[in-house]
């Protein structure tokens, strides 16, 4: 980051942070207020818009194809109904790709960007607890990603599912919105921790998200229990799928965990990784290269 950018951050913090020490919650709010705009209008958001916009375009194409009476998706030669198609779109692009990739790119950059841009010093000189800075940025990440991902899911849903089937599938939509929000929270916390703990967090996180997580799910045994995806897929409503899609799902998750266990594990992961990241950031001395 150049000098002008450093001055901008400094000025913004000056204007927002009072000289008096702020409470933890107050500090979180101030950092959130500062970070949300920065995250939304960064270059990463262009990437996020492209990634999240692709399923919307796919849904639009499916809608047009369906309007001509042609089944938009067939599994084993069988036409998949609109609710099933929506489920596939949630499961494959959103859950398996978009949520982890957003977690990686945003989560690792929460603190790592400040270190790289050498603006971490300005944040740490404010009368705020260091962990409040991390949590404030994490909440800003959650707001930024959920407010982009969830509306796009809503668009995909209303593009694919006919209005006449909304009543019968609305519960599934709510579950999908919930599980994607939990997924963003879990991956964000994990990669925020990686961003604080590891020197080159992006590479390590990509290896974890698209190497370890994918491989561990395929290996028989208990290793899959050490992945976020295992618990997220436990929340996917399986009864929505049918025929070939079910067999595909069962092949991917042979013994899905219960919903309660999944929620408990994901909540525990969020708290654990945020606490670990907070502890590291509170105690670590950041020496910036000149």
């Amino acid at each position: 980051m150049n000098e002008a950018a450093q001055n901008r951050v400094h000025d913004q913090m000056n204007s927002r942070v009072a000289a008096a020490p702020a409470s933890f919650v107050n500090g979180v709010w101030r950092v959130f207020d500062l970070s949300l705009g920065e995250m939304l209008w960064s270059r990463r958001t262009i990437f996020m818009a492209l990634v999240v916009g692709a399923p919307v375009i796919i849904a639009l194409v499916m809608r047009i194809v369906q309007a001509f009476g042609i089944p938009a998706l067939r599994v084993n030669g069988v036409a998949v109904d609109p609710v099933g198609m929506f489920g596939v779109l949630i499961w494959v692009p959103f859950l398996r790709f978009i949520v982890p990739v957003l977690g990686v790119f945003y989560g690792t950059s929460l603190i790592a960007d400040e270190v790289e841009d050498k603006t971490i010093t300005y944040l740490f000189t404010r009368p705020l607890r260091r962990s409040a800075i991390l949590v404030g940025k994490y909440v800003a990440y959650l707001a930024c990603t959920t407010l982009v991902v969830l509306p796009s899911i809503m668009l995909v849903y209303f593009l694919i599912v006919p209005l006449t089937q909304v009543a019968s599938s609305f519960r599934s939509l709510l579950i999908d919105l919930g599980l994607l929000a939990i997924g963003l929270a879990a991956y964000g916390a994990l990669f925020a921790f990686v961003g604080v703990f590891v020197k080159r967090p992006l590479v390590a996180s990509l290896v974890f998200a698209f190497g370890w997580e994918q491989a561990a799910l395929l290996i028989p045994g208990y290793l899959r229990r050490f992945t976020i995806m295992y618990y997220l897929q436990g929340l996917v409503p399986h009864t929505r799928f049918s025929g070939g899609v079910v067999s595909l799902l069962e092949a991917m998750i042979p013994d899905p965990p219960s919903v309660m266990l999944s929620i408990a594990a994901l909540t525990f992961a969020v708290v654990l990784f945020l606490a670990l990241a907070g502890r590291i950031i509170e105690t670590r001395e950041y020496v910036l290269d000149q």
Binding site: G37, Y157, T164, A167, P237, S242, G243
Partner: protein, 344 residues
């Protein structure tokens, strides 16, 4: 937070709230109750009483014009004799003169007899009345509609291009429902909710499960049936058939039990058909789905599967045609017997 960020948050939250609001309205009020989205279904529903236990629809024109029908005719070419005979008698060409039919099971006094069927199309009223007279039927005007009755069957010309047929009491009740201008099946929220789910099909039916079973099955059989409240079916007919059967159980547990039963039957069917082409694809096309209280079974019969099934049918050895039996000479019971030969 600058103005640009606030606008973004407002738009994103707006999309979410609008979507969730629509879903909530659809779930708890029903989109069919919003006039801007859809009225109360077909115009013929004005003749169907609100307490109808079953409503069914068939787009006869689309079925007749479908590629599927052409394929079936090729497999079974003698199928059109009945239609030709019907046309000769009534002047109605089923292929061209009937657009669609709506059928309903209606509660009415003395409901023994056929259900209510409303057919929309082009009918020669004079010819049909003449035919009825030849069959010694009686004609009368009932609340502005011409009703022709013969035994437990009635036909009413209720509107230009719309006839109602069925048991006399049922047809009269249909005419009364329309004349009263009050509530009809379109006001039955539960039934219409299911109709909206299936009314994009070429053929569809929605029924209260007890209306299907109550009078037809013994009590001990009924008590062993799964606890189902609603049944619906839909078929989209084109070059092949895409269909869906759906039931709503009374609770989640009953639905789960039913899913397991169907799953078992599907597994058994897979074992039975082995690797027989056509049948294997047919079984594989069956998809069990649904969530909560809903259980659905959908299937897809693309033209290739139909061709394979036709080939299986063609390969079956046909039973040899027996020559018609020569009738034995009948002996009239009271015919005078030939005189016995004289005793020696």
């Amino acid at each position: 937070m600058n103005r640009r960020t606030r606008i973004f948050l407002f738009v994103a939250a707006g999309i979410l709230v609008a979507g969730l609001g629509t879903g909530l309205v659809a779930s708890y009020v029903g989109l069919q109750n919003l006039p801007v989205i859809g009225g109360n279904g077909l115009a013929e529903f004005a003749y169907v009483p609100e307490d109808a236990g079953l409503v069914a629809y068939a787009n006869v024109h689309d079925v007749m014009a479908s590629e599927l029908r052409r394929r079936l005719e090729a497999i079974h070419p003698q199928g059109g004799d009945g239609a030709r005979s019907f046309q000769e008698h009534t002047g109605i060409d089923v292929e061209k003169d009937i657009d669609y039919v709506v059928a309903a099971v209606v509660k009415a006094p003395e409901t023994e007899g056929p259900p209510l069927v409303l057919a929309r199309g082009r009918f020669d009223q004079a010819r049909l009345e003449e035919l009825a007279k030849q069959e010694s039927a009686t004609s009368e005007d009932y609340q502005g509609a011409r009703v022709v009755t013969r035994g437990d069957f009635a036909l009413a010309f209720v509107e230009p291009g719309l006839v109602a047929v069925g048991a006399p009491a049922v047809v009269r009740k249909a005419i009364e429902t329309k004349s009263a201008g009050g509530r009809n099946v379109g006001d039955n929220t539960e039934l219409m909710r299911l109709v909206r789910n299936v009314d994009d099909g070429t053929v569809w039916a929605v029924a209260r499960f007890d209306a299907l079973t109550s009078d037809r099955l013994p009590q001990d059989v009924r008590s062993k049936l799964p606890k189902i409240s609603w049944f619906s079916a839909k078929g989209v007919i084109g070059a092949g058939v895409d269909g869906q059967l759906q039931v709503e159980a009374v609770d989640d547990t009953s639905a789960q039990d039913l899913r397991q039963v169907i799953q078992g039957f599907l597994a058994l069917a897979r074992l039975q058909v082995g690797n027989q082409a056509g049948l294997t694809e047919l079984i594989n096309s069956l998809q069990l789905g649904g969530e909560g209280k809903t259980v659905s079974l959908s299937f897809s019969l693309p033209p290739e599967i139909l061709d394979a099934l036709g080939a299986i049918r063609a390969q079956r050895p046909r039973l040899p045609q027996l020559p018609p039996e020569t009738p034995l000479p009948q002996v009239a019971p009271d015919a005078p017997r030939a005189p016995a030969p004289p005793a020696l």
